[in-house]
Amino acid sequence: MGCLQCKAKRLCPKRENPVKLASQTAFSVSEVEALFELFKIISSSLIDDGLISKEEFRLALFHNNKKKNIFTDRIFDLFDANKKGVIDFADFVRALNVFHPNTSQEDKINFSFRLYDMDGTGFIERQEVKEMLIALLSECEMKLSEEIIEAILDKTFMDADTNQDGKIDMHEWKSFVSRNPSLLRVMTLPYLRDITTTFPSFVFNTEVDEVATLSENTRSG
């Protein structure tokens, strides 16, 4: 894979130009570079190949790469835009862009819909919601009776499923979210605003410097 060379240049594999990524997202060039610092930490935690595997993603979130969580796995799948089975830096930046405080509600709503539409049918079916709810309760170790679970689902679908067809389509979701904006809270990461102060070491690894030459900049972080 040529990763020995990659290590020296920190360009692994086919890392997209930070300026290009910045122009396509809400991040500034510095912020993209700061994100790369975070990406490096996560992507090298199990295998240092410049890519985030599913296990490395779980590890980053839970400090435990064995812990299976359907939501984490689903988010991973959404980050992995080209279904490669791994997340590269461009995927990472583009996906995190959706979580940026400045990103449009529309983008967040679309992402959240895809998130909950686990099987990608274009609808959030009642059964899917039930599975997610059960997963959540098990995560919190809260045992609720079947009756209570069904009641929660009934209430949710009464509220969200306006045409009462047993599933929530994008249109219904948009309307539901506008009535319950707290649902989008998971879609915004305030930490992204402070990314350059959280990972200030990007300054030493920056590739974007009008004054210095490229060779000067390639200091390994």
């Binding site: 979130l61 969580n69 939501f71 509600q105 997610m132 170790e141 915004t188």
Partner: protein, 278 residues
Amino acid sequence: MKIFKADFDCPPWFSSSAKKLIKRILDPNPLTRITVAEIIENEWFKKGYIPPRFERADVSLDDVDAIFNESRDSRNLVEQCEEGSAVPATMNAFELISTSQGLNLSSLFEKQMGLVKRETRFTSKCPANEIISKIEKTAMPMGFGVKKNNYKMKLLGEKTGRKGHLAVTTEIFQVAPSLFMVELRKSEGDTLEFHKFYNNLSTGLKDIVWTTTDRGKVEEKDGDPFVPNSPKSAFTPKSENSLKNSSKALICITEAIVPKEATSEQQKAKGRMHTKCL
């Protein structure tokens, strides 16, 4: 080193007034360096600048949302509260689902930086009124002002901490009849102090926190009270009431904001700079 000599260059597209301001901010000599008050008065800075509105008492949730960029719509909550007798709003399936740690990408940052969470939750089987009253009784002797308004509560630290006063939002939601989820979020102040505050508070709240033991001891996993609630016992409803019949209400506890004037302005000024100092 370049940074000590303030040896930097600004990109060519910077206006001269921006460059001048930056030079004065990046002055290595703290005695001659521009002050925040002067920055605010600077012509370039003032262009298009809207001073933030800081509110102390009776802050509306709208402002809180705007400042903290949360998507919680305060207007909804307020309206629900004013509809006659307020009771905790029932969480719908998605609201419950979104409390999953698997969806909390903040962990990516917090874990890497060794930060502690800014929020935490626990569940309780006590009536909502009792929860509020217990939190109030526990927080006040800890030096926290408590403001209640129709099931809204603000917890405001009286002492100034590392980053100003600690302010905490608490919200209570109904998961099922006789089961409530209480969410505590730091809205202002130092997160480590919030962590300490919650440690102390949870000791006082252990009677109302639902856990495996009947005595309601708060369990800490690996000493981390920020692990999402760990009740293990099976829950069976006391009555046959289904959620369809239960009344809905929301106990909202609003955030109190204390201005951190200097920090936020400095951040804003620095945010406009894209130079690198090496």
